[in-house]
């Protein structure tokens, strides 16, 4: 098995202070492998988003260890966490979070711009990203002129264009109809076939199980079950 892109060991995360303190994660351990699409499923308040934030270097754990491509986030400040995200993580959000005043092409370019990649090579790379999600023809369109599915595909292009080790998607189909949801998951599944990337999708949506290699269930801040998804079973059979 190839080296995990993200490795979490016995993660505890406490949120809030004093009487308001909540233990959102209670000793979570998991590994995300490249070339796999992993689903993280669980009810509301189970700790999915907190785990995503910790794995995506937005939060540091209260205890336990997170390693991204072997680099620990322990005692990391804002700058180091930002660098780890920049170097290794691509995010996809339920609400897309595209910049409304920028075109689809510029939204994708933004992910390169923050990495210090400018000019014609960056534009060419961003165009490749849009082509990969089938939106070359929408390069000059603004978010308000695109459907939800198209906006989410632009967000996927933005996440993948920096060539991250792992893509973390938070309810990527949550705001989409079945057709658009399937289209988005197909793109994510294709990305996960590339052994350079791992994909973790947080979802409530049972329709996306078919795309998963692994399915992790979380409840009350603990991983309670793990199973092979349909894609994983096919891959194992092959």
């Amino acid at each position: 098995m190839s080296k995990p892109v993200i490795e979490a060991v016995d993660i505890v995360k406490r949120l809030g202070r004093g009487a308001a303190e909540v233990q959102a994660l209670r000793g979570v351990s998991l590994e995300l492998a490249p070339g796999e699409l992993t689903l993280l499923m669980g009810p509301s308040g189970s700790g999915k988003t907190t785990l995503l934030s910790v794995l995506g270097c937005m939060l540091t754990p209260s205890s336990g260890t997170v390693r991204v491509r072997g680099e620990s986030t322990a005692n990391a400040g804002h700058a180091k966490l930002a660098r780890l995200r920049r170097d290794h993580v691509g995010f996809i959000f339920q609400s897309y979070h595209l910049v409304p005043t920028l075109s689809a092409l510029d939204n994708v370019r933004l992910a390169l711009d923050v990495r210090g990649r400018y000019g014609k090579p960056a534009i060419a790379k961003a165009l490749d990203g849009l082509a990969m999600v089938g939106l070359s023809h929408k390069k000059n369109a603004f978010p308000q002129d695109m459907s939800g599915g198209e906006q989410q595909r632009v967000a996927i292009a933005r996440a993948i264009v920096g060539n991250p080790s792992v893509i973390l998607a938070d309810e990527p189909t949550g705001a989409l109809d079945t057709e658009n949801g399937q289209a988005v998951m197909t793109v994510l599944a294709n990305i996960a076939k590339d052994p350079a990337h791992g994909v973790l999708v947080v979802t409530h949506d049972p329709r996306v199980r078919a795309f998963a290699n692994r399915i992790i269930h979380i409840e009350d801040g603990r991983i309670v079950d793990e199973e092979r998804g349909a894609a994983g079973l096919v891959a194992a059979a092959e």
């Binding site: 988003t49 995503l52 934030s53 995506g56 937005m58 939060l59 804002h78 700058a79 930002a82 660098r83 995200r85 920049r86 170097d87 993580v89 691509g90 995010f91 959000f93 339920q94 609400s95 979070h97 910049v99 409304p100 005043t101 920028l102 510029d106 370019r109 933004l110 992910a111 711009d113 923050v114 990495r115 400018y118 933005r158 996440a159 920096g162 938070d170």
Partner: protein, 375 residues
């Protein structure tokens, strides 16, 4: 166009009303600062206008003289002593003082008489008549701006000063007094009569040095030779006059205070609008942080927004300043805008805008990137 510039400009122009409010804030502030500092420069120029036009290398003044308008008198016999000092080519007397000008059919008005001689301080910017005619005992030169105040309207008009007949023999344009009291140039002896001083009384001696003379050495020699006087260079006398009128009277502090107030008001207005713009775009900035942008990258977006505001605001303010400049050109106190002042104002605008960005920068620095999951 760089993506940072594009993002900053779109953030800036997205809310037109707020953009207009920002620009109005900058324009208001910069025009206010320009008018105050322009008045300061104009005032500074006006209080030394006589010194600037007097043909003197050194000024012999009564000890303790604070400004050109100081009423202290010298003994004219000092002229002979001064001329005996090696290096002195000439020591021309100059007399100044207030008196009353009879306005034909309308009472009288105070005037500031400048007693001249052919080698001394002569009226400049003469637009009618001939300054050489001021050798005539009754001749006076007045500025056309004060025609209404003085009750005259053309060359050859007559009236009286303290009962003595005067004839307008020369008319100038733009020799205005910051005290609003009109200047009247008259021959030396006549001026002594108008002001009511003796033939031995003069206000200043304008010293001209021979070519190659050492100004400091001559100055020291004059100071030794003459009692109860000071010998000043033109620059020293100019600075002394400016210091007295601008800071001794508090006028300069008032003008600077106004300028400072303008800058503060402008900074607060820009800070407020930038802060509210940043607040409206917090989710976008959080997204930028989430996708790995450094704090510096986000600061660059905000500062670019501030700089764009500065350039546009300054451009509009500059056009208004030119209109104000034109409007005040013939007023009692015209404002003066120099290239250095313009450059300084642009730098001030940039500093104001960048300083205003500080509150917005503090705000985005505190953004939790994880907030994007909650929205």
């Amino acid at each position: 166009m760089s993506l940072i510039l594009r993002l900053a400009s779109r953030n800036l122009f997205q809310d037109r009303l707020r953009f207009v409010a920002t620009i109005i804030g900058i324009v208001f502030s910069i025009v206010l600062v320009t008018v105050q500092l322009g008045l300061f420069l104009g005032f500074q120029k006006m209080v030394t206008t006589m010194i600037d036009h007097a043909p003197a290398d050194l000024w012999i003044v009564s000890r303790g003289t604070k400004c050109f308008e100081d009423p202290s008198m010298l003994d004219r016999r000092d002229q002979t002593k001064a001329l005996s000092v090696p290096g002195v080519v000439d020591a021309v007397p100059l007399l100044i003082g207030f008196t009353e000008w009879a306005v034909p059919n309308d009472g009288s008005t105070p005037v500031f008489v400048v007693g001249t001689s052919p080698e001394g301080l002569r009226p400049w910017h003469v637009v009618q008549g001939n300054p050489a005619d001021l050798s005539d005992a009754h001749a006076v030169a007045v500025d056309q701006t004060y025609f209404g105040r003085l009750g005259v309207s053309a060359l050859g008009d007559t009236t009286t000063i303290r009962g003595h007949k005067v004839i307008v023999k020369a008319v100038t344009r733009g020799i205005r007094s910051f005290t609003t009291t009109p200047y009247v140039f008259a021959p030396m002896e006549s001026a002594q009569t108008y002001i009511g001083v003796s033939r031995n009384d003069v206000s200043y001696l304008l010293v001209r040095l021979s070519q190659g003379a050492n100004a400091n050495a001559v100055r020291e020699a004059l100071a030794k030779k003459l009692d109860k006087v000071e010998v000043l260079t033109t620059d020293e006398f100019r600075n002394r006059s400016r210091t007295f009128w601008l800071f001794g009277t508090g006028a300069g502090f008032a003008l600077f205070g106004g300028a400072l107030l303008g800058a503060i008001v402008g900074t607060v207005i820009i800070a407020q609008t930038l802060y509210s713009s940043t607040k409206d775009h917090l989710t976008e900035f959080a997204t930028l942080r989430a996708i790995g942008s450094s704090s510096f990258y986000i600061h660059k977006v905000i500062i670019t927004q501030a700089l764009l505001s500065a350039v546009i605001g300054f451009g509009v303010a500059f056009l208004i300043d030119l209109a104000v400049l034109r409007f005040t050109m013939d007023s009692a106190l015209p404002i003066v805008i120099t290239p250095i002042l313009t450059l300084g104002l642009f730098v001030l605008t940039v500093i104001m805008c960048v300083a205003s960005a500080a509150s917005a920068i503090v705000q985005v620095t505190r953004i939790d990137p994880a907030r994007v999951f909650r929205q």
